[in-house]
């Protein structure tokens, strides 16, 4: 029983991380039809921000990380994606592939190939003990932060003019532009939000693994990618759901797969993804706008 509860807590915290990553990708996808391969590397840059600012008190570290990653996301949008925005989705996809490759190798040149150890705050490493149960404070912080962020995002999308325009753009970008909404502003806002989510995901990830390396963006990328595919491309609710599904599948496979099969955990997880795609090719949640208009 304790083991199960422990696994559920693990699953919830991992799922929170996954949901944020997937959401960051889904927001951009919804508007631009761009699956951003560089999302994982936004997270990586956030990680290095934490490493560089290691001596600051944690609130400043958090703030600085958020700023750095949001600024990076905006810069990438302006320099790389805006010039190709009107191209077909394939070109956008490949552009993001190139951005990802660029960021990774810049990090490799600047920081070297060895992983760097760091922590956000020692507090996160502590554990609450309830009977036999060990609840890492980090997990609780992650779950609560995610819930708050999701609530904030919903409020932003529902209540603010920019948020409403973003939702309109993800329904029909062309029409939204015709109605006088500034496309540059909307896309930039989407990247800012996406960067913010990536930064928080980076904070979570670094406080979980304790290390930062130039290629740490790969796993988050795969996760975000898969979660948003499972959830239904471009659907924000789908991305959260997909993130939770993938997080839960991963933890449960890790816990309950026979020992000799555990190295294949990811292969099983991705097979589950293929299975979901088989049964529901459009993902779990199908947006009305998923099919291209003719």
């Amino acid at each position: 029983m304790e083991a199960l509860i422990q696994n559920i807590i693990n699953a919830l915290s991992l799922s929170s991380l996954y949901a944020l990553i997937a959401l960051g990708m889904a927001i951009i996808f919804g508007i631009m039809r761009l699956m951003n391969f560089a999302q994982g590397d936004f997270i990586m840059v956030g990680g290095y921000a934490i490493v560089i600012l290691a001596d600051l008190p944690w609130p400043l570290k958090v703030l600085a990380t958020l700023l750095v990653v949001v600024a990076l996301a905006l810069a990438v949008e302006r320099l790389a994606f805006r010039p190709v925005r009107d191209s077909d989705p394939a070109t956008l996809l490949v552009t993001s592939f190139a951005v990802a490759f660029l960021l990774q190798n810049l990090a490799l040149i600047i920081f070297g190939s060895l992983a760097k150890a760091t922590t956000l705050s020692p507090f996160l490493l502590e554990v609450w003990r309830i009977g036999d149960l060990a609840v890492p404070k980090r997990d609780v912080v992650m779950i609560i932060t995610t819930l708050l962020l999701l609530a904030g995002l919903v409020a932003f999308l529902d209540r603010t003019a920019t948020g409403v325009q973003m939702r309109a753009a993800s329904e029909d970008f062309r029409m939204t532009q015709l109605l006088g909404v500034n496309a540059n502003k909307i896309v930039a806002s989407a990247f800012a939000v996406s960067g913010l989510l990536a930064a928080v995901a980076g904070l979570f990830l670094v406080s979980t693994t304790g290390t930062v390396s130039w290629n740490m963006g790969l796993n988050p990328l795969l996760v975000g990618f898969i979660a948003s595919v499972i959830g239904g491309l471009g659907s924000l609710r789908g991305a959260v759901l997909g993130g939770f599904a993938l997080g839960t599948i991963t933890v449960m496979l890790q816990a309950y797969l026979p020992l000799e099969l555990r190295p294949y955990r990811d292969a099983f997880a991705y097979s589950a993804v293929l299975l979901i795609l088989l049964l529901r090719p459009e993902g779990l949640i199908v947006e009305r706008t998923a099919k291209e208009r003719v």
């Binding site: 699956m35 990618f225 088989l278 090719p281």
Partner: protein, 343 residues
């Protein structure tokens, strides 16, 4: 005869170009010859990628998994029997005793990859374009994870070694030419024409009765065959490899070659491969350190990738249809009636 040559110039011209470029290996040392071979092996991979992506317009991130399958199949088939029991002690009997020569091993590698592709194509090719592209990415990860762990067949994370290194420049060249012929022959079939119609405008293509599933599957499997062959050549060129060799870096590199060249034409595949290979060879010399007019320049690891990524971004922004603009090459001499149109 001349008319024939003119008609098929998009193929013959490229074959000529590839053959000429391959002769660069006479110029320099061993290292140049290795670079030429690598480029030709990459050309086989890129042409395989082109057959699917170029015709269907659907992106595949999974082709390198076919390359992996080709490489491992070959390794199992060609590692000498005297060493095989030590490298792969748990192989099933018929594989443990199998020993094939270069050509049959390469063909079988391609076929195994093609069969695998045909199986996964059943679910994948039902998906809409972008979802299919994303699903191929899942395939890439699955094959990587399995290859990295399945010690019986792949040697696990430590990889395989002692594969006879028998891919020479001319072997690679021969297969590259075969790949070009296959791709060119395919793109003149009705399947490919239907695919191209669906690439330009899928709803319109569907409206005139083109169901793309079968056509996409054929292109996917054919592309996988070449990717398997490419993997086989790769294995027999390097002699040793791990699963890491078949993951994101090579996926990025081959996609980049295709896109920089222009992904809707065979000419794009060839010219992109030559361009990026040449650039890459140049940059690697800078990474190793070069002396230019008494100035010693040496770059750190990663610089080559950074520059390649920047060039790719520039091409995407300035020339989104690639260097060739996605067109086939034209008969270079004045002719009364141009026979080669836009692809």
């Amino acid at each position: 005869m001349a008319a024939r040559v003119k008609e098929h110039w998009p193929l013959l011209g490229l074959m000529l170009l590839t053959t000429l470029i391959a002769q660069v290996h006479f110029l320099g040392a061993e290292v140049v010859s290795r670079e030429v071979t690598t480029a030709l092996v990459n050309l086989v991979l890129v042409v395989g990628l082109y057959i699917f992506i170029g015709n269907s317009g659907v992106f595949s991130f999974g082709h390198i998994s076919f390359m992996a399958i080709g490489a491992y199949t070959t390794a199992i088939l060609v590692i000498p029997l005297s060493i095989k029991p030590y490298i792969l002690p748990n192989l099933p009997g018929f594989l443990a005793d199998a020993h094939l020569a270069f050509v049959p091993a390469t063909i079988i590698a391609g076929l195994v990859a093609a069969v695998f592709a045909a199986i996964i194509a059943v679910p994948l090719m039902r998906l809409s374009g972008l979802t299919a592209a994303l699903a191929t990415f899942a395939v890439l990860v699955i094959v990587f994870v399995v290859a990295d762990n399945w010690e019986t067949f792949t040697g696990g994370a430590s990889g395989l070694a002692n594969v006879p290194t028998q891919t020479g420049v001319y072997d690679a060249l021969a297969w590259a030419l075969v790949a070009l012929v296959v791709a060119y022959a395919f793109q003149r079939t009705r399947w490919a024409l239907k695919l191209r119609a669906s690439r330009e405008d899928e709803p319109a293509a569907r409206a005139v009765g083109i169901g793309v599933t079968l056509e996409r599957t054929i292109a996917f499997v054919l592309g996988a065959f070449l990717a398997g062959v490419g993997g086989s050549l790769f294995a027999q060129f390097l002699g040793a490899f791990t699963a890491q060799a078949f993951f994101l870096n090579i996926t990025f590199l081959t996609l980049m070659m295709l896109i920089v060249g222009g992904f809707t034409s065979l000419a794009g595949a060839v010219i992109g491969t030559i361009f990026i290979s040449a650039l890459s060879a140049l940059l690697i010399r800078v990474e190793d350190g070069v002396d230019i007019v008494g100035l010693h320049l040496q770059a750190t690891r990663g610089l080559r990738e950074v520059i390649l990524a920047l060039i790719m971004l520039l091409v995407l922004i300035l020339r989104p249809r690639g260097i060739t603009g996605g067109r086939e090459i034209r008969w270079p001499f004045r002719s009364a009636q141009p026979t080669v149109g836009r692809s």
